[in-house]
């Protein structure tokens, strides 16, 4: 069986996203190896908040793949419900991020504080923008899925969400653990 057009397009989107995030994370690693002082800067990030957000994204990925499974079984309403759980996970992730950033900015750790914080806000901000985009697209897909229409879109948006999860899996150790 050939790869459906929608899914093929999604893979190409992710291929380009791989270069975008790969370039950013590659640059971060280069600088991190050069500047030992970044370990001191990274000591200010909240590991537990990052770990909780990782758990939230992993769980939202589970609901996304279960939505895909429900779509495969032609159970659109269940797929839509699971997609909304995934959106909820994205919302929790963003709320934790907002809590973290508020705290950090109050401490004077802004995007212009240093090269580390510049990378921190750029990488986490770009990732958060992808989370928001995923939530919006998922909501639109859930509307049609609830009517048992266009169920193949559930898989496509799920693949996107898993990619966002994979990016965070690498951001978490880079920004929160390597201290």
């Amino acid at each position: 069986m050939e790869v459906p057009t929608g899914r093929l397009a999604m893979w190409w989107v992710l291929a380009s996203e791989t270069v975008v995030f790969g370039g950013l994370l590659g640059s971060y690693v280069m600088m991190r190896l050069r500047h030992g002082a970044w370990a001191d800067q990274a000591a200010n990030t909240n590991t537990w908040a990052g770990a909780f957000n990782t758990l939230v994204l992993l769980t939202s990925s589970l609901s996304a793949v279960l939505a895909h499974q429900a779509a495969e079984r032609a159970d659109g309403p269940k797929a839509a419900r699971l997609l909304r759980y995934t959106i909820l996970g994205g919302g929790v992730f963003l709320m934790v991020k907002a809590f973290e950033w508020t705290h950090e900015i109050k401490e004077g750790l802004t995007i212009t504080s240093s090269l580390f914080w510049s990378f921190y806000y750029t990488a986490a901000g770009l990732h958060a923008a992808h989370v928001v985009a995923g939530m919006v697209i998922m909501f639109i897909v859930s509307l049609t899925a609830a009517r048992n229409e266009e169920l193949h879109r559930v898989e496509n948006v799920g693949i996107y969400w898993h990619f966002v999860d994979v990016v965070w899996i690498f951001l978490f150790p880079l920004l929160y653990i390597a201290k």
Binding site: V3, W11, W12, L14, A15, S16, T18, V19, G22, G23, G26, S27, V29, M30, M31, L33, R34, H35, A37, W38, D40, Q41, A43, N44, N46, T47, A51, T54, L55, L58, T59, S61, L62, A64, V65, L66, Q69, A71, E72, R73, A74, E107, G108, L109, S113, S114, L115, E149, L151, H152, I159, H162, D165, V166, I169, F170, F172, P173, I177, A178
Partner: protein, 116 residues
Amino acid sequence: MTQRAYADAPHHDETSYVAIWGALCALLGVSVLGPMVGVRFLTLITAFGIAIVKAYLVCRYFMHLNVEKKWVAYILGFMLALMLVFFGGVAPDVSRPEGLRWQKTYVEPATPGGER
């Protein structure tokens, strides 16, 4: 694609997804607790080694790369290879403090809030 044709696509066992999610959560626990030991080598293994394993599990089982056409994995692999070329080409210069007609003057400022 008709809904019937989509419903005829290969299915995956629900319990296996939950089991994979459980494994991912367990790995997350190790990646958080490992660095607390304070051994640099162990931190690198538990943080970045486990990140690679977690990403592999998500790509293979949640994104279904294990049953997707092989060339999809090749496309993604090619993009990763490009990233390595970028890293290999630029990193040597980034790590040098000076060159023939240039010198790095940037100094990382002290942390404003101090360590938490």
